[in-house]
């Protein structure tokens, strides 16, 4: 190998990288919050009786889960304007990420809801709790607790998926990588560094989720 690495050449771009990290982090946070929220609503619709709504949510989930993220992104960014819906690159990217996470979290949370023993529901009913009260007070918290690891992983997967947003000019972390690469041609160095940053972000995100878990589920804390 006759190649000398020139990681130092990246220093002038540290600003750009920092900005990329910031947008990736913001995208990840907003997506996580909105996606999980929508996912909960979707799961609630799916777990109830077969209605038009629950079926519509089902179709949405299948559509999203069975097509690649990048195609969804292109469709939103390039396709929707032809029918009069114009979103900026940032909006399009965020929208794509949110509908993606929402679809996956709908399925994950639904699985959690279905794993709650019927006895819990019956106990709540015999105590006189209404349907909504039963769902929010008795079913949802332990359901979330059960699927928390799966949800964490999915949120991280979607965060990593944001790398693709660079394709439509969203200035996130991969955009920074590609930009620097297009200026100094040090592709390997750049991608190496950015990959490590993604790894750190993923680890950080997992830790963050653990921290939230700690406060959200005090019963588990008590047990350990």
């Amino acid at each position: 190998m006759d190649y000398t690495f020139q990681f130092g050449e990246l220093l002038p771009y540290s600003d750009l990288i920092a900005r990329g990290v910031l947008s990736t982090v913001i995208l990840a946070i907003v997506t996580t919050v909105l996606g999980c929220l929508l996912g909960t609503l979707g799961a609630a619709a799916r777990a109830g009786k077969q209605t038009f709504l629950s079926r519509a949510v089902g179709v949405y989930v299948e559509l999203i889960r069975n097509t690649p993220f990048i195609v969804q992104l292109f469709f939103i960014f390039f396709g929707l304007p032809t029918i009069g819906i114009k979103l900026t690159a940032g909006e399009a990217g965020l929208l794509a990420m949110v509908i993606n996470l929402a679809a996956y979290s709908t399925e994950i949370i639904r699985a959690g809801i279905e794993s709650i023993p019927k006895g819990q529901l019956e106990a709540a009913r015999t105590l006189g709790l209404s349907r909504t009260q039963t769902f929010t007070r008795v079913v949802l918290p332990p359901a979330l607790e059960k699927i928390y690891p799966a949800l964490t992983s999915q949120c991280i997967i979607v965060m990593l998926g944001s790398a693709v947003l660079s394709q439509i000019s969203v200035e996130e972390l991969t955009f920074a990588a590609n930009f620097i690469q297009s200026r100094n041609f040090l592709s390997f160095e750049v991608y190496m560094v950015i990959t490590v940053i993604y790894l750190l972000l993923a680890i950080l995100m997992r830790q963050g989720f653990k921290l939230i878990h700690y406060f959200m589920f005090p019963n588990l804390r008590a047990r350990s």
């Binding site: 819990q120 019956e122 105590l127 006189g128 209404s130 007070r137």
Partner: protein, 242 residues
């Protein structure tokens, strides 16, 4: 007038005829034990009394309320009928106190402070006052079941239904739960228990109901019935269990 009145109740699961015309009158303060083989319809009967299951025919009246399988009605009923399950069904994410206070706050609309007082009262009654801030997972099975009883009591029911509430417990923990039931019976609570604890049925219960193939096969004063079974089915059952 009787507190629980069951009138020719039939129940089908698909084509499976599970209850084949049950008639029962249970007065306030009675302690009734329901015994019988697995699949004889004991749980189904209990679930028809509190509206968890819709019966197919006949009628059930509890505390002058017609029991129908309908959310609104079950809510109303929940103030008169408590139920304790074999598998406790405590809410794992809530502390003992929160488990107990949940329904009084949401259904009886009591303020936190009053609910708390009630929780302390009922916990004291089952001998677990000091566990109010523990989580269910930190308790033994017997303690969990006692909390489940306390949770039902917090709604101040007129009748408590218990479906094999000691079957999931280690033998040495059974006693502490039965003790609580005994105390409740002594205080005059109406109890309807599905149970395999023959000694308890005999010593504490007033009446025994032996179910067989969806029918009340034999019933009467508990000491008499258990000592002198009239049907071969009950004799056989008693021999198998004891």
């Amino acid at each position: 007038m009787s507190l629980v009145s069951i009138n020719n109740v039939h129940k089908y699961y698909g084509s499976n005829h599970v209850l084949k015309g049950i008639n029962l009158e249970i007065g306030a303060g009675e302690v009734v034990s329901i015994i019988g083989r697995s699949g004889s319809g004991k749980s189904t009967l209990l679930r028809c009394i509190n509206g968890l299951e819709a019966y197919s025919e006949g009628g059930v009246v509890v505390d002058q309320m017609e029991v129908v399988y309908d959310d609104r009605q079950i809510r109303k009923l929940s103030k008169s009928v408590g139920m304790v399950f074999q598998s406790f069904n405590l809410f794992p994410h809530l502390t003992v106190g929160q488990n107990i206070m949940l329904a009084p706050k949401l259904v009886r609309k009591l303020p936190e402070s009053e609910a708390k007082v009630i929780a302390q009262e009922v916990l004291a009654k089952v001998g677990l006052a000091e566990k109010i801030d523990s989580y269910p997972a930190e308790l033994s099975g017997g303690q969990q079941q006692r909390v489940a009883i306390a949770r039902s009591l917090a709604m101040n029911p007129k009748v408590l239904l218990c479906d094999e509430i000691t079957s999931a417990l280690d033998p040495e923990l059974v006693g502490e739960v039965l003790k609580v039931l005994e105390d409740l019976a002594a205080e005059g609570m109406t109890l309807i228990l599905v149970t395999h604890e023959m000694n308890f049925a005999r010593d504490v219960g007033d009446r025994v109901i032996f179910m067989h193939q969806g029918l009340v096969w034999e019933e009467g004063d508990s000491k008499t019935v258990l000592a002198n079974p009239q049907t071969p089915e009950l004799s056989k059952f008693i021999n198998a269990v004891l």
